[in-house]
């Protein structure tokens, strides 16, 4: 088998369980005779060995297979992406600080580069399968490609569940991390990977259950739970120096809420009076909440007289940590929930006396009453009781330690695990035979005469409103080529109801044209048809319209599809890979000028009336499709073509129209009145407070005016404010015109408007 493991968490990355698993898995698989490729980051983390500096390195292994390490430069040891990192065809750092854009987020850069590299590797090596953690979403752009008609560009992808960022941040109550914009995008990407993978593998049933509860039927059909490999270095003969001769309970792992460190302290506080020499030891990095020191946590849970018996040694070498577990009176893992902590598995491997909570993967490793003890999660009293039993019942502790070793060896028997993995790969390859799109020829090695056929049938609607004949012409000629081999698709041009300018567009006679007054074209589509809407000015690279449509067909989770295009200049950063109507409606958001949905997603939209201007039509249709079907729009993870007009932006006018339609259709909560009302917080000039420095007075008159200027209320007008004013003035002038007044007085105004051609222009819209 040719297996690629894609993860930045690999040697010499010093981090936790994911890296530990990868370090062991790749070697065991290679030694079992497989061709293993690791695609990882190039950060050295302080290591200087030459092989860490090589872009491609063939690692020596003791077996018939091979292990090749490919190192790409995602970010440095501090997880800082280079300032010049490019994402698709732009450099995100030019646009905004990193807190405001997902583009330069380490996870996004890693995923984007990994996808390009693995595509190349797959073409060269013919990989059978890719395995990648869900954490950090490095498989995101590979999966996007596979779900956008490019399934042949990558092998099937198995997402290995370790723990998602949302689970981890939430368990630690890291509110800032969960709310931070680039993380929110990353969490969505991770969840996309879990759902759109070709197979989902977890080491614990606990994690699989969590994902099943969250995503249900959207998960891959192929799901397996296979334990981590366990590779134990020989444990040190003695515990770390400060622990020698001590009677102690130990927690190994980061000191953080999700490891239950505080519960261990509470239990220790109960035991300390009974056992005069008992100590509580923490090995691992301190990562408590922002603004709360671990000392404070200890103060809160451990009475003063016992605090000097709480020992924190920080990170220690792995063999010393193992020895610390082995020689501890009790090994504690009181996590409220954890996936499959390597620390527990390793502790069992060296014969530790384990007491673990009854939730999460560790409770699957330790058999209660046999190879250790379980306690009800969150119950400090019960934890203390279990620990006390280990401390006092030496006979049980001895048999539990022996059973733990046997249990660890049994659940991590490498041949059995490899066999299970191979069975998983076989199932994926079998599934691939039915999934691979025979037309997925994006990996093109021969020139082709025609573009690939679009799946199914449907309508492509080009909105020509407000555009000139050149812009429309470039789109139509591009689409002609895109659709020439797809007879089930109809190309239709949407023009303004005002026919006076339609002739100027020079629309070819053979194309159907509709106006905003006509019945929307999707109404005549079948349920399975696809509907593509685009502004004039969009031009697809050869055959790439297909990607947009294929995503609708291939994505497991119902979605809308958008295209990342090259606008006339690089002034605006485009849109995120996923967004729903809520994100779309934020003022200044860039809106993709093309989207596709299943025609049924717009079934309830029976009229385009009131959707004035092309930008508003685009925005309203996307928002309605999203709100009414609960879908997000997704770009395909690649640049698909050009657009010759600036990317549409959610200005106030467009926003108000969109919000209005959403409200009328019952989607916008009526309490939402402030959304997007002002671009900046209104600020008024205020008097200097007593005792405060008086910059306005101290400054020169020029300085004072600057202060006032800064404090002045700034209300930005919509971009088309002048135009709106002009329309209003013309409307009022017409309304007050004597002829109009006379017609109104006679009660024939409405009839005249209907009867006289062009009267709308003369008399206004009424």
């Amino acid at each position: 088998m040719k297996i690629a493991i894609v993860s930045y968490e690999y040697d010499p990355f010093p981090g936790g369980g994911i890296a530990t698993y990868h370090n062991a898995a790749v070697r065991i698989l290679a030694e079992a005779g497989h061709e293993v490729h690791v695609v990882t980051n190039s950060a050295l983390h302080g290591r200087e060995e030459e092989h860490y500096k090589q872009a491609v390195h063939e690692a020596p292994i003791d077996g018939p297979g091979s292990l090749t390490i490919h190192r790409l430069h995602y970010f440095d040891s501090s997880r800082e992406v280079p300032r010049n990192a490019q994402f698709l065809d732009v450099c995100p750092d030019r646009y905004a600080g990193r807190a405001h854009l997902y583009g330069a987020c380490p996870s996004n850069i890693a995923a984007s580069q990994a996808a390009a590299y693995v595509e190349h590797l797959h073409r060269q090596q013919g990989l059978d399968v890719v395995e990648c953690p869900e954490f950090f979403a490095e498989a995101f752009y590979m999966l996007r490609a596979r779900r956008s008609g490019r399934s042949a560009s990558f092998p099937p992808i198995c997402i290995h569940g370790h723990i998602s960022s949302r689970f981890a941040f939430s368990a630690n109550l890291h509110a800032w991390e969960v709310g931070y914009y680039p993380h929110r995008q990353k969490m969505l990407r991770e969840e996309y990977c879990v759902q759109e993978a070709d197979a989902l593998l977890t080491p614990s049933h606990a994690l699989m259950r969590r994902y099943e509860d969250l995503f249900g039927a959207a998960l891959p059909k192929i799901r397996r739970t296979i334990s981590y490999y366990l590779e134990l270095p020989p444990a040190a003969e003695k515990p770390p120096e400060p622990l020698r001769g001590l009677n102690y309970m130990v927690c190994v792992g980061r000191i953080e809420p999700r490891k239950g460190s505080d519960l261990a302290m509470e239990a220790f506080a109960r035991l300390a009076p009974k056992f005069d020499d008992l100590h509580l030891v923490f090995l691992g990095k301190e990562m408590w909440h922002h603004g709360e020191a671990v000392d404070d946590v200890i103060d809160a849970h451990v009475p003063r007289e016992y605090r000097d018996r709480v020992v924190r040694l920080g990170n220690v070498p792995r063999d010393e940590a193992l020895a610390a577990g082995k020689f501890a009176s009790v090994f504690l893992h009181p996590a409220p929930w954890d996936n499959y902590p390597c620390a527990v598995l390793e502790a069992m491997g060296v014969g530790a006396a384990c007491v673990v909570s009854d939730q999460g993967g560790h409770s699957e490793m330790v058999k209660d009453g046999v190879s250790g003890l379980h306690f009800p999660v969150g119950d400090a009293e019960a934890l203390a009781r279990c620990a006390e039993r280990m401390l006092t019942d030496t006979e049980f502790a001895k048999t539990a330690r022996e059973a733990a070793v046997r249990r660890a060896q049994a659940i991590t028997e490498p041949n059995a695990l490899t066999q299970q993995k191979l069975e998983l790969v076989d199932a994926m390859l079998e599934q691939e035979k039915t999934m691979v799109d025979v037309q997925a020829v994006q990996t093109r090695t021969k020139a082709i005469e025609t573009v690939d056929r679009l799946p199914g049938g449907g309508v492509v609607l080009v909105d020509a409103g407000g555009f000139d004949k050149w812009t429309l012409g470039s789109t139509l000629s591009s689409l002609e080529r895109e659709l020439e081999s797809s007879p089930n698709y109809e190309l239709v041009v949407l023009v303004d109801a005002d026919h006076s300018k339609v002739a100027e567009l020079e629309i070819p006679e053979n194309l159907r044209r509709v106006t905003t007054i006509d019945e929307p074209v999707w109404q005549a589509c079948g349920d399975d048809d696809y509907f593509v809407y685009m502004h004039a000015g969009v031009r697809f690279d050869l055959g790439r319209l297909r990607d947009v449509v294929c995503q609708l067909r291939d994505a497991r989770v119902n979605c809308g599809s958008v295209a990342w295009l090259r606008p006339p200049d690089a002034a605006q950063f485009p849109y995120p890979p996923d967004f729903g109507w809520q994100d779309q409606c934020v003022v200044d958001t860039v809106i993709p000028p093309v989207f596709a949905v299943k025609a049924s997603a717009l079934a309830s939209v029976t009229s385009l009336s009131g959707m004035f201007k092309a930008n508003a039509r685009l925005s309203i249709l996307m928002a309605l499709a999203s709100a009414e079907n609960g879908i997000r729009f997704q770009h395909t993870g690649d640049v698909l073509g050009d657009t010759y007009r600036d990317l549409p932006r959610m200005d106030h006018d467009t926003q108000w129209r969109t919000l209005g339609v959403l409200d009328m259709r019952g989607h916008l909560p009526r309490e939402w009145t402030m959304v997007g009302s002002l671009p900046e917080l209104p600020m008024a000039e205020v008097a200097t407070q007593p005792g405060q420095a008086q910059p306005a007075q101290a400054a020169s008159s020029n300085g004072s005016s600057q202060v006032r200027e800064k404090a002045r209320v700034e209300v930005r007008e919509p971009a088309d404010y002048e135009q709106l004013q002009q329309i209003y003035r013309e409307h009022m002038a017409l309304k007050n015109h004597r002829a109009v007044k006379a017609l109104r007085k006679l009660g024939v105004f409405g009839a005249v408007r209907k009867m006289l051609p062009g009267s709308k222009k003369l008399l206004g819209d009424g």
């Binding site: 984007s112 073409r123 090695t445 020139a447 812009t471 690279d541 090259r566 640049v639 073509g641």
Partner: protein
């Protein structure tokens, strides 16, 4: 059509190149390795370039995609390049302009670069025709000197003669569009990114092409904005790096060392490491003769006036001095000539100094092996 595992796509950007694009396509197709596909990305030409490209590709029987862009106000070179690469086959991509004529082995030499190197930016010399569209020809910039130096740098590959694997283009995120709208550094941005990724910049003597010159080629276009963007983006100082690199390349080339092509033996190159018909430009000719400088002095001596002295000073000042080794006789005499022209002395005194310089330079020139060079250069200059 060739039978290769990895396909070769020739991609060309164009704007109003109706007169030359046919020649470009024909020269590529008639070479030793015709492309599997040609992609032309045209930025809204209104002179028939698009139709001409299609016509010639059809005539020559080579698959061709012409991407017909709408003009949006300014030339969007990076977008054109990205569009080209996006439409190329998954293999080797040779990026060029539609006013370049390829040598008989240009495409094959580029292909060979990528066969030998996992990751590379391929390039070769770029020559300028001196008469019409068939030669003789000379070189501009440092592309010939660069070619014969073993170690490449990001500033070696030129945009008209620039190859890469499509997968590298994907990995780097394409050509950065922030460099559009202003002149210079567009391809260096890409090759600098490629170098950071681990790719080598490789130039091959047989990967040469001829550019049909237009008026801006020999002029001086302001690249300061894009140099600033480049320096800020990549944390480098382009001017210093290029100067330091030239300090290694130029003495190497002037010493007569020439690099063999990866297609060694396919075509004989002359003493300059260029194909037959090459007329060395002044900055290369000076490695063999001082005649070009002596002629400038002669010209000034024929009518010694403040204007002619100033003109001489301008000529010496505008030379790219970085391309003359500091320890060479040419540099010594160039500095002397420039010093005289800019001495601020009276015309009479300058005349005396020039005559003195002339005598010494002529004597030195006799010891140099370049009389043929001088003739060729004189012919080129006349063209």
């Amino acid at each position: 059509m060739t039978s290769r595992d990895v396909p070769l796509t020739l991609v060309m950007v164009s704007y109003r190149k109706k007169d030359t694009i046919g020649l470009s396509i024909e020269s590529a197709v008639n070479g030793s390795m015709p492309p599997d596909l040609i992609v032309v990305s045209d930025d809204g030409s209104d002179d028939g370039t698009q139709g001409t490209a299609e016509f010639h590709a059809n005539r020559l029987g080579v698959p061709c995609i012409v991407v017909k862009h709408q003009r949006v106000g300014r030339y969007r070179i990076q977008t054109m390049r990205n569009t080209c690469a996006a439409n190329a086959l998954d293999g080797v991509v040779l990026l060029s302009d539609s006013d370049c004529i390829f040598g008989p082995h240009t495409l094959e030499a580029h292909y060979e670069i990528h066969r030998k190197h996992e990751w590379a930016i391929g390039t070769g010399p770029r020559f300028e025709f001196l008469e019409g569209d068939s030669g003789p020809f000379t070189s501009t910039f440092g592309t010939l000197e660069y070619t014969h130096f073993d170690k490449g740098l990001y500033c070696v590959p030129v945009g008209a003669n620039f190859s890469f694997k499509k997968s590298l283009w994907k990995m780097l995120g394409g050509f950065d569009r922030a460099f559009e709208g202003s002149y210079g550094m567009e391809e260096f941005q890409f090759s600098a990114q490629a170098e950071a990724f681990g790719a080598a910049c490789v130039s091959d003597p047989l990967a040469y092409l001829f550019h049909i010159p237009h008026e801006t080629v020999f002029g001086n276009r302001d690249a300061s904005r894009n140099i600033r963007v480049f320096n800020e983006t990549y944390g480098r100082v382009h001017g210093d790096e290029e100067r330091e690199y030239l300090q290694q390349v130029i003495p190497h080339y002037w010493s007569g060392k020439r690099k063999a092509s990866l297609l060694d033996g396919r075509e004989e190159l002359d003493e300059w490491g260029a194909p037959k018909g090459f007329v060395p430009p002044m900055l290369i000719a000076l490695s063999r003769t001082l005649r070009p400088l002596i002629e400038w002095a002669d010209e000034c001596l024929s009518d010694v006036r403040p204007e002619s002295i100033d003109a001489l000073g301008n000529k010496t000042q505008n030379l790219d001095w970085r391309r003359v080794p500091e320890d060479s006789k040419a540099y010594e005499f160039l500095r002397g000539l420039h010093g005289i022209a800019r001495s601020g002395r009276s015309p009479e005194r300058v005349g005396e100094m020039l005559r003195e310089w002339h005598a010494k330079a002529s004597a030195e020139d006799q010891k140099m092996p370049g009389s043929e060079v001088a003739k060729a250069h004189a012919k080129g200059a006349a063209s």
